[in-house]
Amino acid sequence: MTPTLQFCLVISAALFSIGLLAALSRKHAIFILIGIELMLAAANLNFIAFWRFGPQSPNPTGVMVAIFSIAIAAAEAAVGLALVIAVYRHYRTTDVRRFNQLKG
């Protein structure tokens, strides 16, 4: 048995579901960010898998999209964690249930 595209997609779907689980069921802001990172990583795995198993083309488009996606995920993580710190300074907690007003 050699792995086919199906197995890669199933693993990517499992990773996405775990990220969704973390983002939906945890009450801590950093866990939600971890979940979003996992979902982005699952999307990257899909790009690479489709590039590897798809028909050959002169341009490695899947790899390029994955590289750009990693860069954007890094930017998202930086801004998200800065937001967590800014909100923590105000509320003295990172429990998302307590963030219940927009005005400070």
């Binding site: 792995p3 971890i34 990583a41 590897r52 198993f53 490695p60």
Partner: protein
């Protein structure tokens, strides 16, 4: 592609991710996230995208994980209850997973094996990045600069 390596890396990655999502202590979850990211990098190596695997290790393990650990240490309260768990989220995640797996198994065109491909060199990636993808590259550079400035502005102390 090696089936045994595939299975081992899959178990490694998924258990790391599951531990990152479910562990009670935040710092343990962040370290398990590193395990999951290393497993993903191994996947990229296995699939023949060595450069993406290296970028994954540099960016995620080197930068994002350290950033998460720093944030945890900056916002830690000993008395805080972090074990809250919403079971509706578990249900939604399971439904989404079942739907995705059902769709994947019902699609005949994705049951293809790996064909032999020529190795993707870093030289080729650099050439493509500087010709076809030069505008996206500039936009990503602009986005990273904006994100850096935005993060700094967000965490700057407010002057009273």
């Amino acid at each position: 592609m090696n089936a045994a390596a595939f299975i081992v890396i899959a178990i490694f990655t998924l258990s790391g991710a599951l531990a990152a999502a479910c562990l009670r202590k935040l710092i343990h979850a962040a370290l398990c996230l590193v395990v999951a990211f290393v497993g993903l990098a191994a996947f990229y190596f296995l699939l023949g995208a060595e450069f993406v695997g290296l970028v994954q290790v540099f960016v995620y393990v080197g930068a994002v994980a350290v950033l998460i650990v720093f944030t945890i240490l900056l916002t830690r309260r000993e008395d805080e209850e972090t074990s809250g768990f919403n079971w509706a989220g578990v249900f939604v995640a399971l439904v989404v997973f079942a739907g995705l797996v059902w769709t994947i198994w019902k699609t005949p065109s994705v049951s293809v094996g790996a064909s032999a491909i020529e190795a993707l060199t870093v030289k080729r990636i650099g050439e493509v990045l500087m010709t076809n993808y030069v505008w996206p590259l500039q936009c990503v550079g602009l986005l990273l600069t904006a994100a850096l400035i935005g993060a700094l502005v967000l965490v700057m102390e407010e002057k009273q």
